[in-house]
Symmetry: C3
Subunit: 148 residues, 3 copies
């Protein structure tokens, strides 16, 4: 098990930042061969998603369409001017999970992990946790048995 | 590992109910120091999200904007009158994960966990599961080694 | 712990395919009695969600409303014609988690797991991972203790 917080400085008001390499590094450092990697965003005006890493226009299209759902200059009850960012955060979500096999993230060919900044620029924390998989109880206890 | 179902009575047709304290209690009772807490909603017209707990207007803005995406009085093929709630449920999601460190939920300053009621008022079940983290196999088996 | 990739051939451009039975089979084969099952989609124009399995119109309503948020014939910067599918993928999400108790998926009465095809028809991979739950460290090591 490994738990690490990485820091990402965003540069724009709204931006999808590819954090796959930083997450890969946490997985490598964990030494875990097979398990699960979870990425969690401890903010309420940011999110995390998995999407295409090849054409940067995909990221812009995602932001543009979210902006149509919750415009940054729309009318809201919350008066801090970032209600649109809170809404986008709940639509996209606060965490993703990626499997780990052979010590590596199991991502599809086109998949990367993106921090979604909706109220930047800011310094954001990204929490990454890697857990080793576990065999069923009857099997997992065998290697430790005193009689073996 | 601990698994518990908590019950929440919602009071409105659409409402975000802060369930953080109930989830914290399950974590405390579990005795787990380091691990992961998962919250799962076994309903198809409700959801769970993490967002701001300070200004209640944020919750209203989220509900208002979801209502624009899928109006409760819109036209749908499903004739039970709650198709909007099913759609909102899939947009927001059926589960969240929060890390546990030092026996406590690791939430950001402004984060709380909210049951999202989209077709209330009803009595809703919220399933909470807390799992202890696991060290990599070579390390985790050391304390149990017969030679120690 | 069990990790398996199942293959799903979708038949339409946009479609929600019930994959609950295939996931149940992976859980059964894993032999895990109590734990967590995660479903992950390694594609960026598909997703996975949990929603109602009874009335197929619910699935159509979900697709119709997502189509209003990101129309397949809308204007996008990404020129491959499937930007709408990337956007829907991030709105719905790349993974779901379901608890496992008594060797079975713990789903609500009306819940099924759906692969969401947004850019089909295609052959899609669905990764399923089942992990056994773990007791708190002090308890879980007891059965292996040499002195017991």
């Amino acid at each position: 098990m490994a738990f690490k917080t990485i820091t990402v400085k965003t540069e724009n008001a709204q931006q999808l930042v590819d954090i796959t390499q930083q997450v890969r590094l946490v997985v490598r450092e964990s030494g875990i061969i097979s398990g699960v990697c979870r990425v969690f965003i401890p903010h309420t005006t940011a999110a995390v998603t998995i999407n295409e890493n090849a054409d940067p226009n995909v990221r812009r299209d995602i932001l543009n369409r979210l902006e149509q759902v919750a415009p940054s200059d729309g009318t809201y009850l919350h008066t801090e001017g970032n209600s649109h960012a809170h809404i986008k955060s709940s639509l996209v979500g606060s965490s993703v999970v990626v499997f780990v096999e052979a010590g590596r993230l199991v991502l599809g060919t086109w998949q990367s992990i993106f921090l979604c900044e909706f109220d930047g620029p800011r310094t954001r924390n990204v929490m990454v946790r890697v857990s080793a998989g576990m065999l069923p109880p009857t099997i997992s206890t065998m290697p430790n048995s005193p009689s073996v």
